[in-house]
């Protein structure tokens, strides 16, 4: 593998945001020791997190823990355990990591020895989600073999672009989401033996929406040339918002600090990558075990300026007119899901999420290339990539580079192979700059 050099300039304000993830796992262990409720959750794009926090449940995310295990180099043990229990090896790497972990947890009667970050304590609740990915509830259903925690499925509609724009569509979509949330509240109250604190929920929901607004503003700043925030910083601090890793009011302050730092860098003309030659959009999940590889690319002047649609906050919309916090939760999450749909429809495009957003990203962030990371074990992060590649070339004359790998299993990623393709890809990016100019595109 190529020598690792730290070329990417990291944001100072990223570190406290990244640190919230550690605290999130520590809190869960503390809660477990104190006999307080702990939930294992699937990422649900704020569709259920606020309700859990308002009920004082410590939430941890086995998806995130998969990345932690991969980065700590212990995932292989859990993957092998999962295989030996009979699960097919092509299912999600995060899921295999977690199923293997849970199997060991059952065998050892507690947090498996050597589990990183203090481990994930036994959950009182499992909160799966039906968002985008079948794995997000099938994996938790499969956990029933190892634990007796009840499983709730948070549901979200997935209408197509034209179907979402029907006369009454939004009305019945939001009604469905709100009704589902009411049932979730009832489930929580029954399971936890206490009532929802509606005032607290109202406050958390407002804080969460504000947190995402500020985080969205930070990402808007990245449109400038040269870009001061590399994707590595995005990935490091996205869990703070995506998982509501800390108190959203306090997290908002940390994102505001980041906004100030980034604004200062822009004023001083500073970039995340010295001598930014190529601006790239990255999709979807990075190789968590090999993040240093992006320094090798940065050395060549490649700056990843936008990434991972699924993990970006929604474009801000004012929801203050909706007094019911459940309706604000529903509308905020649906805005995340369908925020690009209207534009996609106007542009005659399909795949309003996972697909079309990259067209806007590449155009607005003036990207030279699309760097795609297809994952052998993840349909969600992979099945649209060739489509996006094609649409970007058809609509915007922007070329793509595919680097195959996996989020957990480092044996599936070959960085040298990517570097071997880099020269040719740079030539393609330069070529298409000329093509775009000829076609009247402005970058």
């Amino acid at each position: 593998m190529a020598e690792k050099k730290k070329v990417i300039k990291r944001l100072k304000t990223m570190y406290p945001l990244r640190g919230l993830v550690d605290k999130m796992f520590e809190k869960a262990v503390e809660y477990s020791h104190e006999g307080k409720p702990v939930a294992w959750c699937m990422v649900n794009w704020w569709g259920g997190d606020s309700l859990l926090r308002a009920m004082d449940v410590a939430c941890i995310y086995p998806e995130d823990y998969g990345a932690v295990c991969a980065a700590a180099g212990v995932a292989q043990t859990y993957l092998e355990r999962c295989n030996s229990d009979g699960f097919p090896d092509h299912i999600c790497g995060y899921a295999r990591n977690c199923l293997g972990y849970a199997s060991l947890m059952k065998a050892q009667g507690g947090i498996p020895a050597g589990a990183p970050m203090g481990g994930m304590p036994k959950p009182s609740l499992l909160v799966g989600s039906g968002y985008f990915c079948d794995t997000r509830f099938k994996w938790f259903q499969a956990l029933g073999r190892y634990m007796d925690a009840p499983l709730w499925l948070l549901e979200m509609p997935h209408p197509g672009v034209p179907e979402s724009l029907g006369k009454d569509s939004e009305k019945y979509i939001i009604r469905f989401m709100v009704e589902e949330l009411k049932k979730f509240v009832a489930f929580l109250e029954r399971s936890l033996g206490k009532k929802m604190d509606w005032d607290r929920l109202d406050e958390i929901v407002s804080d969460t929406i504000e947190m995402n607004r500020v985080w969205w503003e930070v990402n808007e700043l990245r449109k400038v040339k040269p870009c001061p925030v590399h994707s590595r910083d995005f990935w490091s601090c996205m869990p703070a918002a995506l998982y509501q890793a800390g108190d959203p009011k306090e997290t908002t302050i940390l994102y505001k600090n980041m906004y100030d730092e980034v604004k200062g860098m822009i004023d001083r003309g500073e970039a995340a990558v010295p001598n930014e030659k190529f601006r790239l959009a990255f999709a979807e999940l990075p190789p968590w075990h090999s993040l240093g590889f992006f320094d090798n690319l940065a050395e060549r002047g490649w700056n990843c300026v936008v990434e991972s649609w699924a993990y970006h906050p929604p474009q801000f919309i004012d929801l203050s007119q909706y007094k019911d916090p459940l309706e604000r939760v529903a509308r905020h999450t649906f805005q995340y899901f369908a925020g690009f749909f209207k534009h996609a429809h106007e542009a005659g495009e399909e795949l309003g999420y996972f697909g079309y957003p990259y067209i806007e990203y590449v155009k607005n962030y003036k990207c030279d290339g699309f760097l795609a990371h297809p994952l052998l074990t993840c349909r969600t992060a992979t099945n649209h990539l060739m489509y996006v590649q094609d649409r970007l070339m058809q609509k915007l004359k922007v070329p793509s580079l595919f680097m195959e790998g996996d989020i957990i299993d480092y044996t599936l990623f070959n960085p040298d192979e990517v570097l071997r393709k880099a020269d040719a890809f740079e030539e393609a990016m330069l070529h298409y700059r000329d093509v775009r100019k000829k076609e009247g595109l402005d970058w």
Binding site: D85, G86, F87, P88, H90, I91, C92, G128, G130, C133, D134, T135, F137, K138, W139, Q141, A142, G144, R145, M147, D148, A149, P150, L151, W152, L153, E155, P157, H158, P159, G160, E163, G166, S169, Y172, I173, R175, F176, E179, E180, K183, F187, R190, S191, E349, E350, L351, G355, P374, L375, R379, T380, T382, N383, H384, L385, M386, Y387, D390, R391
Partner: protein
Amino acid sequence: MSEHNLKGIAKAQKIYSDRSQRVKELKVAGAQILGYMCIYPVVEIISSFDLVPYRIFGSIEEPITKADNCLPTCVCPFLRSALDLGLKGKYDFLDGVVMAHPCEVAEKLAHIWRTYMDPVYSFYIDTPHATREAAIEYHKESLKDFQKSLEVFLGKGASSEKLKKTIEDYNEQRALVRELYDLKKPDPPLISGVETIEVLESLMSIPVKEGNELIRDVIEEIKERRGGPAKGARVLIWGSIIDSIAVVKLIEDLGANVVMDDTCVGSRFFFPDVETTGDPLDKLARRYLVDLKCPRTFIESGIEAGKKDYAEDLALRFGYLGDYVKQWNIKGVVLYALRFCDTHAYEVVSVKDYLSSLGIPSIYLEHDYSATSLSPLKTRVQAFLETLGY
């Protein structure tokens, strides 16, 4: 004998061997054909507008070439194959398509299909994973939108009476299919697993009333014929889509009888009826969302008790398999999943656990949906049948 004079099994085999021939004839005569993917697009609504529903399948015989530019190799090979056939013009006779959300890849495919195939008409029916009342209500609203889109496309209104009548036609077909499966209960069964697939795929390739006539003839023929399948290990096959006879033939050529199935070309699609009283859209929403037992739908357990009991959870999710085991006197189960089919892959260990609790042995086979990779499966099935004492 002219193919129009064929009846029963021979006719089904003819249709199976050239599935689109009949709908192409109907199209020449003025009918409009609507393709649908998987079991969630509501065929009753399609037929109630006098459209002919035609199920879209892939082909394990045809190498995937064109779809490689649209879908990566690490997603469901069946869906890639279906798109591949579409891109090669094999579905050009369709006047439109209806797709749903059976899994995340099929859901994406619905949108990708629209981009690359540019059908004159298309609709995507969102299908929740949950089965709570709000989800059923949402599904019903989606079905209303589907109806409205067909009204716009065809320039004519939906008829509740027509829909009710069409539901009755399909329920009649479902009753006939169940009757056909009853003929698989004796030992040996009166009809083979291969013949069953040929008949059922035929039903998904012709108008419902023609299908009902066909299956009535098949049942009559089967009851009277001599020289059906010989005795052998009684096997149930569970899993992902099996739209070719090849896999079942492989098992039956080894001396077993596939007397029952739980796949979306077999009992999973045909067994549940639609209730005929009340609002038809409401009943359709419930039938498709709740009654179809596909792993893509979430069945909750332990919610009221606050604690999940694994054995109870398995019984709730797979109890119907236990009934099949008893009624069809099953000796072993083949779990068959396509590589990269997540919804089934996650289920494999649980289904095995459930079957073990019943004392029923099982084997898991993973297939890449190509005819050339069947041989290794044959060796494994042979070994499995030996463990069953055959």
